[in-house]
Symmetry: C2
Subunit: 135 residues, 2 copies
DNA sequence: TAAGTGTATTATATTATTTAATACACTTAA
DNA sequence: TTAAGTGTATTAAATAATATAATACACTTA
């Protein structure tokens, strides 16, 4: 439940999901939202592992997926850096959003709800949500 | 990848998720969409296990969650039946939809996307989707 | 050369998932 | 009463995913 700041990154780890997935999701989000800048140096695998009190192998697993996403670049002996390409970030955002949206619409469909139903519901319950983004 | 009909229920099981979760999701959907009628008898635990070639304990686990959902009722010695209450189904549908929607909006927010962004995207890519519902 | 990078390997522990083999209480129909 | 069919509970075992631990190697920089 506790938040943890490591360089430009903020982490909040619990036991509801695999640790490497939580790191992955939260770094992805930080890059997508520009909370960590393009080209900026990431914490080293060992440093982040120590800060989050987990095994370097676990952090490594998340870092390797980030590189497959095209969101980071490794420089041998130097470290891991956020990509300098805004286009890459945009492509990633679009692709992942499409994947999430497809899955969501499938869920709604499985409950017999149409897109019109969903839109009406969200308009009613999530538009005046002034305290919605507690990060 | 293959579909399987058991009474009024249609199943499609793969290895992407735990088996008991797939049974749960697919029965929930069938009830929510009215594919199996209110008050109708479900396949017995042993029968469904045999049809789907899995262990009765695995089917049991899904059936117990269905009862917690309020979607089924057990009668000792007789079997498991879909609830006769349309209100219960409606409450379930609303509650689960709200849960799915909250999670979805959190995903979009983690990518820096607003509800307006999402709406525009879906209008463009999912409205003229005439071949969308392959079930 | 020394310290800091990412990476790879091997081993072990833990947990979730699934199967297997029974057993019990209850209901219904022969 | 009996037999078959319900849901349910228990114990054991196998498998896979997750995570930790302890090293080791190649590369870069100061």
């Amino acid at each position: 439940m506790e938040k943890q700041q490591v360089g430009s990154l903020r982490f909040q780890i619990d036991f509801s999901q695999p640790l490497h997935e939580q790191i992955l999701d939260q770094v992805r989000s930080a890059i997508a939202k520009g909370e960590i800048g393009l080209g900026e140096k990431m914490p080293s695998v060992r440093e982040l592992a120590q800060e989050l009190r987990m095994n370097p192998n676990t952090v490594m697993r998340a870092y390797q997926e980030l590189e497959r996403d095209g969101l980071t670049e490794k420089r041998r002996g130097q470290g891991t850096f956020v990509t300098s390409s805004p286009e890459r970030v945009q492509v990633f955002r679009t692709d992942l959003a499409a994947k999430y949206i497809d899955a969501f619409l499938a869920q709604m469909s499985s409950l017999g709800l149409t897109w019109t139903d969903v839109k009406a519901y969200i308009q009613q319950n999530h538009t005046s949500d002034k305290g919605g983004d507690r990060s």
